[in-house]
Amino acid sequence: MAEEKKAPAKEYDTKSRKRLEIQRVTSHYQKEWFMQLKSRVEAGEPLAWGTATVPEEFLCAMDIPFVCNQWWTAICAAKQMGPKFYDFLRTNGYRNDMCSYCSTAYACALDPEPENGPWGGLPKPTVLLSFDPCPIAKKIDELCAEKWGIPMFSMPTTPNRSTNKKEWEVSADKWEELIDPEGLELRIQDHMRMIEFLEKHTGKKFSMEKLKEALNYSNEQNRWYGKLRDLIASTYPAPVTVPDTIGAVMQAQWHRGTKWGAETAKAIYDEVKAMVDEGKSTVPNEQVRMMWLGRGLWFNMAFYQAFEEKYGASFIWSQYLAFGADKYVRNFDGGRDPIAALSTRFCGGGDTGLWYLKEAKLHGIDGVVYLISNENCMNNGQFAEGIIEDLEKAGYPVLVLKADPADSKKWNQETMNAAVSEFLETRVLPRKGLKPYF
């Protein structure tokens, strides 16, 4: 296990090498979309702000643009602006070392010069959708809403009494099995209240037809992710790695429910499929296939690539693509209610550890790196120790990195590099009778 110590001044490359054309396309689109969004909001259009678990399809159905907290946090981290924003927390009487993943937006809201934020800063949202079950995240959302002077819809956490453990087996077609009937009914009611709230505070109207269209796009997009995941899993060496696709995958994921989201997912797949057909791989010297558990290391995507040349270690799995592949699709054929279908997404239940095991086996994983935050709640509640024990028992060696995925100030590149290198040299490569290339 490696733990963050006080980090030295940064003297390493944090940006991953872009090796796919689609990365450039989505990066460009992302910035363009954001600039258009700013113009729309400045012209009086509403903007919704919320967490990753907000069912965006509802917002698509109401033509309300949405900015996701986690996306914005990743952008701030990637632009190395995290430390600057967390300092605003400190100067306003808050701690600057707590809840980094959830507090970035509030920290931005405290910036006296918000226009200096990424791409000219975040436009002021019109409504806040608080879907995170964590009570602290709810407080931060409340503070954000107060600071912005906007209304907030807070989604209750409905206990899930379903005993289903393998949610990926039923989530697309038998999603009614993901939650008990009473819980589902309550979540439907809550989503109906959210629609009322949005209609009241944005002036936009909900359309069932548009919701169906959005859910169809969303399903199409995530089916492409499923195909992409399967393609990566079944190809040796893997055609692409986590940093090759994570940005494009997530940029499209934050636009799920739109035509662009579905088309982009297909474009990612097409580019990777062409690589497979041509026998190409971004890590042709792949010796071992690695799984990254936990949040993405947004401020240092280059880290994933740092072990390719010497060790042939290819990080081919992270949760971001796999979530889309296994957990997002909700088919609503046969006259089933799309609101009910969406109400079963992010409803708790399932066994994350079993899912990781299934994915590790599918991808032929040789080693697992598990990012767990020391000071933030991230991953606690997952029963990480049980997950690690199960992975180890199943033959997957696990290295825990205790680090913050959002605040680069605390990252110690040297320590973490050394930890992963040692892990590869002593636990991962020897299991296959392999050695570093040099």
Partner: protein
């Protein structure tokens, strides 16, 4: 700090014995042949457990080292939660632990319940008691959440009937409500003597009294509280700087003792082992399940499970009500929900109201010398 006057009071001493000798207290209860149900946090209706013929007691942590926590919990679980986790998993108290109820008064408590439930399933050889989690929601609109919370109360009652092997009758439930209302009234009669300026009970003594009653048979606790209340008016006034305490729950005298040693005295607090216990009775009429739900979802809001605006309204009122001249916020590492309330609450207090914030604390103290110096200076400032 417990004074001689307290240590010479039969009622106080009886309460103190229960507080100090906690395992022994529970072993004595166990001899009555009833099941002992450990309640984690403050928002699970003990009345229902009692009406089912079992004895609810408040879960408390064990002393370090916390080997089970080191094995299973992420670093972000602070010391209070580690101590509670080990208290269940180290097996030493298994003989006085027949069931575990995890309330939702803190997110970490809910997570402990989840983890212990998972371990019970994975490692049956550990022979852990049955686990139940009660997810009351106090964050959302009353009209939406109250019916849901009432359903949770009824579901909880069914589970307690199952554990007890007997039904909860209306008569038993009414009797339990009456007993607990009487207990809370008696507790309020005692703790009113802790408020400044006419403060006759120190913070440590108050912690002892409140904590003891969480572990005792409520009939006996009520009797002792009534006896103590009669004596308190004759106890000498505590000459110390009165402060209000917010922060990590205090199951022992560690922090309050230090405050008293430095010339201060906690005259009110908002954590689960303090004044919160005595807050709000249950209406003993109409639908009792609704009345019980109302109490446990409307009792004094703690920092962890209530909105910032609620705390902004509450804390200054509590501070004024107990006559505190300063506010101590003491947080163990990663137990810091308070920090998100504090700057807003501060704005609602007079500009020069003295506030001391101790964050990232450990058990035992991380840097006692520094803490002493800072806290001493803060209390000295109030006294001046």
């Amino acid at each position: 700090m417990e004074r001689d006057i307290a240590l010479n009071s039969p009622a106080y001493v009886a309460l103190r014995n229960a507080y100090v000798n906690r395992e022994h207290t529970l072993q004595a209860l166990k001899l009555k042949g009833k099941k002992i149900i450990w309640v984690f946090g403050a928002t699970a209706p003990e009345e229902i457990i009692a009406a089912a013929g079992m004895i609810p007691v408040r879960a408390w942590g064990c002393a370090a080292p916390w080997t089970q926590s080191d094995k299973y919990l992420e670093a972000s679980f602070g010391p209070v939660w580690r101590a509670l986790f080990d208290a269940v998993l180290n097996g030493e108290r298994r003989g006085i632990m027949d069931g575990l109820v995890f309330s939702s008064s803190a997110a970490m408590i809910s997570k402990l319940g989840l983890y212990i439930g998972k371990i019970a399933g994975r490692e049956p050889e550990k022979d852990l008691p049955p686990v139940y989690s009660l997810p009351y929601d106090c964050f959302h609109e009353e009209e939406v959440m109250f019916p849901r919370n009432c359903n949770e109360t009824k579901r909880f009652a069914k589970k307690m009937e199952e554990w007890a092997g007997q039904p909860i009758t209306e008569k038993n439930l009414a009797a339990a409500v009456k007993l607990y209302n009487g207990y809370r009234a008696a507790l309020r009669e005692v703790i009113k003597y802790r408020t400044a300026p006419d403060c006759r009970l120190t913070g440590c003594e108050a912690l002892t009294v409140i904590g003891a009653t969480l572990l005792m048979d409520k009939e006996i606790a009520t009797m002792l509280l009534k006896d103590l209340a009669k004596e308190l008016k004759t106890w000498p006034v505590v000459d110390a700087a009165p402060v209000f305490y917010s922060g990590s729950q205090q199951e022992n005298h560690l922090v309050y003792g230090l405050i008293e040693e430095l010339g201060g005295n906690v005259v009110g607090e908002d954590h689960d082992w303090g004044d919160r216990v005595a807050d709000l009775d249950i209406k003993a009429e109409g639908d009792l399940y609704e009345a019980i739900t109302y109490r446990y979802t409307h009792m004094m809001p703690n920092a962890e499970k209530s909105r910032v605006d609620v705390r902004v309204e509450l804390v200054p009122r509590l501070i004024e009500g107990c006559g505190a001249k300063g506010w101590v916020i003491y947080m163990n590492y990663n137990d810091e929900s308070f920090i998100w309330d504090y700057p807003s609450i501060k704005k609602a207090l007079p500009e020069d109201f003295p506030i001391y914030v101790a964050a990232k604390q450990r058990v035992p103290f991380k840097d006692e010398e520094k803490l002493r110096e800072e806290l001493g200076s803060f209390i000295g400032g109030i006294r001046r």
